[in-house]
Subunit: 412 residues, 2 copies
């Protein structure tokens, strides 16, 4: 039998009614002839509650215990959905990560899946089980302790199972009906995409579009897993949602596929840093150790052996970054005159594989922003995306203007 992987996020299993509703979708795919592997998240809110308890108990918690605690929510939904399916006369059972086993690295709270042996689940399919309901987000370390994959990790669980079981498709059921050209809450002309290339989705995911965990898109791209994002609340429609696929499968393509944003960014500038080899390492080493996620980096042109170094990171990490840099300065590892933080910036990005073959996209983006009077503070580019840091107050305006200028409301 062909295998289908279906993943239901927290809002899709938030109540017993919703679990029942999701189970109906599973039943339909069983009727369609699939052996189904369902990956479930915890009921929405549960994981946050557990994380809150852990942080209150131990601010600098042992990640092994964090994982043991926060993984429990998925076990509950997995069991409940198996029960619901059994009530519908569908042979189903739940699987916790260690039972499959989902073998991961020992990097607790941010573990990576290393292997998912098919034996146990395949044997049960052979015995007549139609649905394996697997607790997402969790695995087991080489030491036999429970690991978790980081927030949103159930997406990654789903893609990893699809890859391991050569699934025909991996359907990610969520509270939106697909991937949009941009956030419809900001731009009401935002259009749902029928298809999007892996590379584009990867950029959008890492740029702040929260529809899929970045790691899951990476995995899907690597293992050529057909990934579909669709709503668990809409009526059944086999063509629904957005298919994330190889770019070859996308015939027509706008130069720009979407506009992404990340609201709460900060820009830090080290003023007058001694410009000599190794200085970047001296700066970004301590930041990495302090767990600061440095995103964009810009170095000014050097004058008289000194330069300004600017980087961006999430607003919530500014204090940590300042501490790390001040400590490094006091330890004599780096030398700068001043450290200036601007915590009122946002990042806006345009993404599209069409950029590769089409010139002038960057120029057009800068022109659009200039015409709206929006000052660009930092720019970074890759082959298929351009990101700018701007004042937060212009973020919505920038998203709308770019969506308009690149005519994203129109299918190509």
């Amino acid at each position: 039998m062909p295998v289908l992987v279906m993943k239901f996020g927290g809002t899709s299993v938030a109540t017993l009614d919703r679990i029942a509703r999701a189970s109906k979708r599973v039943a339909r795919e069983v009727a369609n002839g699939y052996d189904v592997i369902v990956i479930v998240s915890a009921m929405s809110g549960k994981t946050n509650e557990l994380v809150g308890w852990v942080e209150e108990t131990s601010p600098l918690y042992d990640a092994r215990e964090y994982d043991a605690v926060v993984s429990s929510g998925e076990n509950v939904t997995a069991g409940l959905m198996a029960l619901r399916l059994q009530e519908m006369d569908i042979p189903a059972r739940s699987w916790q990560g260690w039972q499959v086993p989902v073998k991961t690295t020992g990097a607790h709270s941010a573990a990576r899946i290393e292997d998912i042996p098919r034996d146990n689940i395949t044997a049960k399919f052979a015995e007549g089980m139609k649905v394996a309901v697997v607790a997402g987000f969790q695995g087991v370390s080489p030491e036999g302790r429970i690991t978790t994959l980081g927030r949103g990790g159930s997406d990654t669980t789903a893609v990893a199972f699809a890859a391991a079981f050569d699934a025909e498709r991996c359907d990610i059921y969520t509270d939106v009906d697909g991937v949009y050209t941009t956030d419809p809450r900001i731009e009401n002309k935002a259009r749902k995409l029928d298809k999007i290339a892996f590379e584009e989705m990867l950029e959008l995911a890492s740029l702040g579009a929260k529809v899929l965990q970045t790691r899951s898109v990476e995995l899907a791209m690597r293992y050529k897993v057909k990934l579909r994002v669709l709503s668990s609340f809409a009526e059944y429609d086999p063509e629904a949602g957005t298919l994330v696929c190889d770019e070859e499968e996308i015939v027509e393509q706008n130069a720009v596929a979407g506009v992404a944003y990340s609201r709460d960014e900060a820009k830090l500038t080290l003023v007058s840093v001694a410009d000599r080899p190794g200085v970047a390492a001296a700066i970004f080493g301590p930041l990495a150790e302090a767990g600061v996620n440095v995103d964009m980096i810009v170095q000014d042109i050097s004058e008289e052996g000194r330069t300004d170094m600017t980087f961006s990171c999430p607003v919530g990490q500014v204090t940590r970054a300042e501490k790390a840099l001040t400590a490094a300065k006091e330890a004599g590892q780096i030398n700068f005159h001043d450290l200036v933080a601007d915590t009122n910036v946002s990042k806006v990005s345009i993404v599209g594989i069409g950029m590769r073959s089409q010139a002038g996209i960057a120029a057009k983006m800068f022109d659009v922003l200039a015409r709206e009077g929006i000052n660009i503070k930092v720019i970074t580019t890759s082959e298929i995306k351009i990101s700018v840091l701007i004042d937060r107050k212009y973020m919505e305006l920038a998203v709308q203007a770019l969506h308009d200028a690149f005519e994203l409301e129109k299918a190509s």
Copy 2:
């Protein structure tokens, strides 16, 4: 290092504050020189919530999934307490049943512990871990699925660990400060016992005193585990609580140690049953299959080949019992004229190993009840207990009168 087992029930770990408080008690025992194994229940209310979800999802649930779901509450408290202890600089880690592993039978929801290998936890103690926080109530079946031990099963987990690790003592922390001569809510002269014999505790537990799970007392008796019941809310006192121990360790002993009751009992009478060999089996076989917990059984003197058969069971099981008996009658397996249910009865029992050597205890009990005008409906006795079924409205009066008559408020 000597090993101490400490068990904290649901009310003792109901909040983060209470977990912190329980952790302080653990820390004190570590300071006293013990390697400590802590057994935790779920935060109070959590297991009931999970059971409610399971029952709503699937009234005739698959017990394997029930176990997978309801065992999750203990995992949360185990992790949180390990974190709390780490915050107090005590090397601690959590263990889920399958990690130890706590090997049980495959009788889901009512599994029995078969083996607790010491290797894993002992190795960690040798590495410097001072506290193993184990999720109570759960284990793993020969098939690698999660099992649970039945409600109150964490007591059994605690005693089984104490036996497996030759613990010096097993301290059961709960919301009462020990075992009383009777329920203090009914008789305000009820006195806390300093010691009670295993046999007595076993009778009290099965007769409705909810302080310990019956199975845990059985295990403690079999493996000679010194069991102490004490309050997690009282101030620290090394002599606190009630010690459940061998009767040889109890020097002075009242004839009656305590008065137990079970409020919601029912009495069913099969009127005019054909009295021939095999009839009892024909009656109680179907009841057992229907899951009815038959307690007391009385058969009237036979007249003209027919007799009345009376038995008691919990009120909640009367409908099930009636259905099973009616079905058996319709199937021609048994024959009776009428089935009469009295759902307004309670059971009151006196328990004491002193009864073995002291005559007249039963006569005194019946006399006390007669003087209060309380009619006895059914009587059963064992070597160390006498139980009577009486009208529910007299239950409190019977408990008080018996407590008074046997002078249980006075230590012997």
